[in-house]
């Protein structure tokens, strides 16, 4: 697929054209932080930012999502009505998504859609109707460690198209059919531009200062890692809040709740997190992960061992570094993984 080129001052026209077919979202400055918002003016779209404050996973997996509505109706043949929420009405396009966040969706695809039974239509519908146009990272921040997590500043996994910011112009690389549709009508890129994009990627990769080792984590058995002594120290200062899981692009645990109002009600799913004591609590009062240590260990083991074991080596982390920055007690995932790998 040929690389295309788009002059930055034509961005408004380009996005305007896309808006005819899609709801377009992009990172913009909201309350001083880079955050996702619908695109209204193309010059508000950010180009120089490390990553959005929170992950874009709520586009596909909203924090609160209505799954179905029900109503007890006596005269209905079934005695009640249970209706799944309708699918998304419009196509959407996420512009300037970071490659690490896109990679996270590819990891989640493996979990949400596995077979006939494990087939999350809420997730799948939103994924199918959304086009991801990525923005290659030219200036990774010190907390990023994507290159250690099968990802990178210009990783293409999960993306439909990837954009390189070359100053006054953009190099647009279509990667899928959806991406081709987006890049349609643009001029071909010159070789020099392609070279510049390569150059930029190399420079960005070189700039990533943190790396973590996974080799020994991969070698060791589940039980060997589970019983490692390092867990006795990792959990000490953990508050068991849910910050790390809620800002994480790959954390996907949820809770299902029923809510009623008179005769009718709805079934909603909400983000939940393995840090919560209630998360695994049995009705009998027995709790398989009753101690803080168990819960902290679960989060890291799940990402770095359980998912790789079950999903052909895919890691449940993309190295976006959000939890590193936002953990209230600075439990640094890089340090934890290095300890697991020690």
């Amino acid at each position: 697929m040929a690389d295309k080129i788009l002059a930055k001052d034509k961005l408004g026209d380009f996005l305007g054209k896309l808006q005819a077919d899609y709801e377009v979202y992009a990172p913009q400055e909201v309350e001083g932080k880079p955050q996702w918002a619908p695109v209204e003016e193309s010059d508000k779209v950010l180009w120089d930012f490390s990553n959005t404050h929170t992950s874009p996973k709520d586009f596909f997996f909203p924090q609160t999502e209505i799954m179905m509505r029900f109503k007890n109706v006596q005269d209905h043949e079934n005695g009640m009505v249970m209706e799944a929420e309708p699918p998304l009405a419009n196509k959407r396009l996420l512009f300037n998504i970071r490659p690490c966040d896109a990679k996270a969706f590819q990891v989640l695809d493996l979990i949400f859609v596995q077979d006939e039974m494990t087939n999350d239509l809420f997730w799948k519908d939103k994924r199918d109707k959304t086009t991801l146009v990525g923005l290659a990272c030219s200036d990774p921040c010190p907390s990023c460690f994507c290159t250690s997590m099968n990802c990178g500043p210009a990783s293409t996994t999960g993306l439909d198209a990837l954009v390189f910011d070359l100053g006054d112009k953009l190099l647009v690389r279509a990667l899928t059919e959806k991406g081709e549709a987006v890049a349609e009508g643009l001029d071909d890129a010159a070789e020099a531009d392609q070279a510049a994009a390569e150059e930029q990627t190399k420079a960005a990769e070189a700039q990533i200062s943190s790396s973590v080792g996974m080799d020994k984590v991969n070698e060791r058995s589940v039980m060997e890692l589970y019983e490692a002594g390092m867990w006795d120290r990792v959990y000490e200062n953990c508050l068991n809040c849910g910050t790390c899981t809620y800002v994480c692009p790959t954390c996907h645990c949820f809770d299902i709740q029923d809510e009623t109002q008179g005769e009718s009600g709805r079934r909603v799913r909400n983000w939940d997190n393995c840090m919560s004591w209630l998360f695994t609590m049995h009705g009998t009062g027995h709790n398989p992960r009753g101690a803080k240590k168990d819960r902290v260990r679960q989060r890291f083991m799940h990402k770095f061992k359980y998912i790789p074991v079950k999903r052909d080596g895919e890691i449940g982390c993309v190295g976006c570094g959000r939890c590193v920055l936002l953990c209230p007690v600075n439990i640094d995932v890089r340090r934890v993984v290095n300890d697991m790998n020690a």
């Binding site: 999502e65 809510e259 109002q261």
Partner: protein, 56 residues
């Protein structure tokens, strides 16, 4: 509690506290009237209601 709810914007007239002895039937009746009038004057509550019909 009353003070905090007012602080976040619930109207003062929506929450009432009173002391009535079991012998004070008249005070009871008067207070009911007063509370009802006060809430009536405010109109239907707009905040804090959990409405599941809304799309989240």
């Amino acid at each position: 509690m009353k003070s905090l709810l007012e602080y976040v914007g619930i109207e003062p007239g929506r929450l009432h506290f009173s002391w009535i002895s079991s012998a004070e039937a008249t005070k009871f009746q008067e207070t009911v009237v007063e509370v009802t009038e006060s809430v009536k004057a405010l109109g239907p509550a707009k905040h804090m209601i959990k409405d599941i019909r809304k799309v989240a």
